[in-house]
């Protein structure tokens, strides 16, 4: 499946219309959960880090902590959860429904390659949407961290802003984007694969979506650990 879609990726013509439709669909499904999950996580992270830094007597570098947390962990992690829990389930439910209704077989009979027509646009769309969501979460994280630290935990606003870039630089942002892109790719592939191999009616579709979530969460956590290790190795401050 991976090989087939990898090969189809470079075969023209790309289905632009389907790609844009899928991007729109995925964004409309994921944007609300992303924001709703990002805000509490931001508060949680900022709150704990500020307690910790205040205890060290270093509350004035809470900006550094918030930026590091938001860019390196919060952004990719929330993207993982939302892309795995929301994006790939939507893809899987959609393709699974088509498989059950034998639309995929009909496409093949008509001589249309479902991989090129359906899978490639979805995988690309998941990748694009994941990278966009990542930046959304980072922005929510930074703004939320600022609001929570400055207005509720009485950190000085100026020192928050000035320490924002202390340990977070371009490498962190690049790694975070790379993480998000690879998560989107994996989630899209898993969702499409389980969606196309559905069998057994209503129960089958439900089980397929369930397995998609589990596989995605497992794969994405594993990939996150590896990419974080790489990111820490080449990050700012080393």
């Amino acid at each position: 499946m991976c090989v087939l879609s990898g090969r189809a990726l470079f075969r023209w013509p790309l289905e632009w219309r389907e790609l844009i439709m899928q991007c729109w669909f995925l964004l409309s499904v994921t944007i609300l959960p992303t924001i709703m999950a990002a805000i509490p996580l931001t508060v949680l992270l900022t709150f704990t880090l500020n307690l910790l830094l205040a205890e060290f007597g270093a509350a004035d570098i809470s900006g550094a902590g918030a930026a590091l947390g938001a860019v390196t962990q919060l952004g990719p992690l929330t993207t993982v959860l939302v892309v795995a829990g929301t994006g790939s389930t939507a893809i899987c439910a959609d393709l699974g429904a088509r498989t059950i209704r034998e639309e995929i077989d009909a496409l093949e009979v008509m001589g249309i390659d479902p991989i090129q027509r359906l899978v490639v646009p979805r995988v690309l769309a998941a990748t694009v949407v994941a990278s966009l969501l990542n930046s959304l979460v980072i922005i929510v994280g930074l703004v939320g961290g600022f609001a929570f630290s400055v207005f509720l935990q009485h950190v000085d606003g100026g020192s928050f802003l000035s320490t924002l870039t202390l340990v977070t630089g371009l490498p962190e942002v690049v790694i975070a984007t790379a993480k998000a892109v690879s998560f989107g790719l994996i989630a899209g592939l898993v969702g499409c694969y389980r969606g196309l191999t559905v069998s057994g009616g209503a129960k089958g579709v439900g089980t397929a979506v369930n397995e998609t979530v589990v596989l995605c969460v497992l794969a994405l956590f594993a990939v996150n650990v590896i990419l974080t290790t790489i990111g820490v190795r080449f990050g700012t401050g080393h």
Partner: protein
């Protein structure tokens, strides 16, 4: 009255669009009310469940703990929760070691692991793993039952379907989460230690000293309580979406996706509220004793 009929007949599309947008808050409120009603019904029926459907509850405890179908092949819920908390906790250690090292306090990695894993990471990560495995599985199962009209058949036979299907699952989730979360805790303790002392070569005495000093039994207790609350809420959410699935096989798939979306948000909100309530007034740790 006649004017309304004329306007409706003259501009059908505009009226329909108005109804769609103006009725939106009402529909949201309606859906919320149904969810609350379902929650009350399923929690209220727990005594009845424990009295009458004990065999079904025991069966569900076994199937949730071990996992069914394709999940059992990769080792069931326990292995998945263990793996996910393992990754999550080692993430904390990797990032914590590097970041604390940047400000010159790399020796505090043990303290960081004890604090963050117990208070935040383990419960959130376990909650999400539980939602993905057990919760989504319950939605798929109940949704398939609803679509094939098995739930209606239960009602016709005089079985209280919410008590038989939802309450049993909630009880089973609460029973299963305790040993499962114990396993997750062990993973969350072991993996940062391995990462820090074996991979990053910090001396194990330093790590153990800071880890043990700042690992507080109360924190662990509250963490367990938080996990139990998360499991209950996740299970009720997923049962609700499965119980109210509609629209054929497609509807089941959509219901699983929708329930995942909702429970993701709920898990982090519960974690945030718990953390603010428990540690907001008094952070409960002193580095400079």
């Amino acid at each position: 009255m006649a004017n309304v009929a004329v306007v409706r007949a003259r501009f059908p599309r505009a009226v329909a669009r108005f109804g769609r947008f103006a009725g939106f808050p009402g529909r949201v409120l309606d859906g919320f009310g149904r969810m609350v009603w379902f929650t009350l019904m399923s929690v209220g029926a727990i005594p009845l469940t424990l009295r009458r459907y004990r065999a079904e509850t025991v069966r569900l405890i076994a199937s949730i703990g071990m996992g069914t179908g394709a999940l059992a092949v990769v080792g069931g819920t326990a292995v998945i929760v263990a793996f996910v908390t393992l990754s999550g906790a080692s993430l904390v250690a990797i990032q914590g070691f590097a970041s604390l090292g940047n400000i010159g306090v790399g020796v505090f990695t043990g303290f960081f692991a004890a604090l963050v894993n117990v208070r935040i990471a383990a419960s959130v990560v376990t909650g999400i793993a539980l939602a993905a495995t057990v919760g989504a599985g319950a939605t798929a199962e109940l949704g398939a039952m609803r679509i094939s009209e098995e739930i209606d058949a239960l009602e016709v036979m005089g079985v209280n379907s919410i008590a038989f299907l939802a309450s049993t699952r909630v009880v089973a989730a609460i029973v299963v989460i305790l040993p499962l979360y114990g396993l997750a805790m062990v993973m969350a303790f072991l993996s940062p230690q391995l990462v820090t002392t074996v991979i990053y070569q910090q001396s194990s005495g330093t790590y153990d000293h800071y880890f043990r000093t700042f690992l507080r039994p109360e924190d662990v207790f509250w963490s367990f309580a938080e996990a139990a609350v998360i499991a209950t809420i996740v299970m009720i959410t997923h049962c609700y979406y499965g119980y109210t699935a509609a629209g054929g096989p497609v509807g089941v798939g959509l219901a699983v996706g929708r329930s995942m979306r909702f429970s993701l948000t709920l898990v982090v909100i519960v974690a945030m509220v718990a953390s603010l309530a428990l540690y907001g007034v008094d952070p409960n740790f002193n580095l400079t004793v």
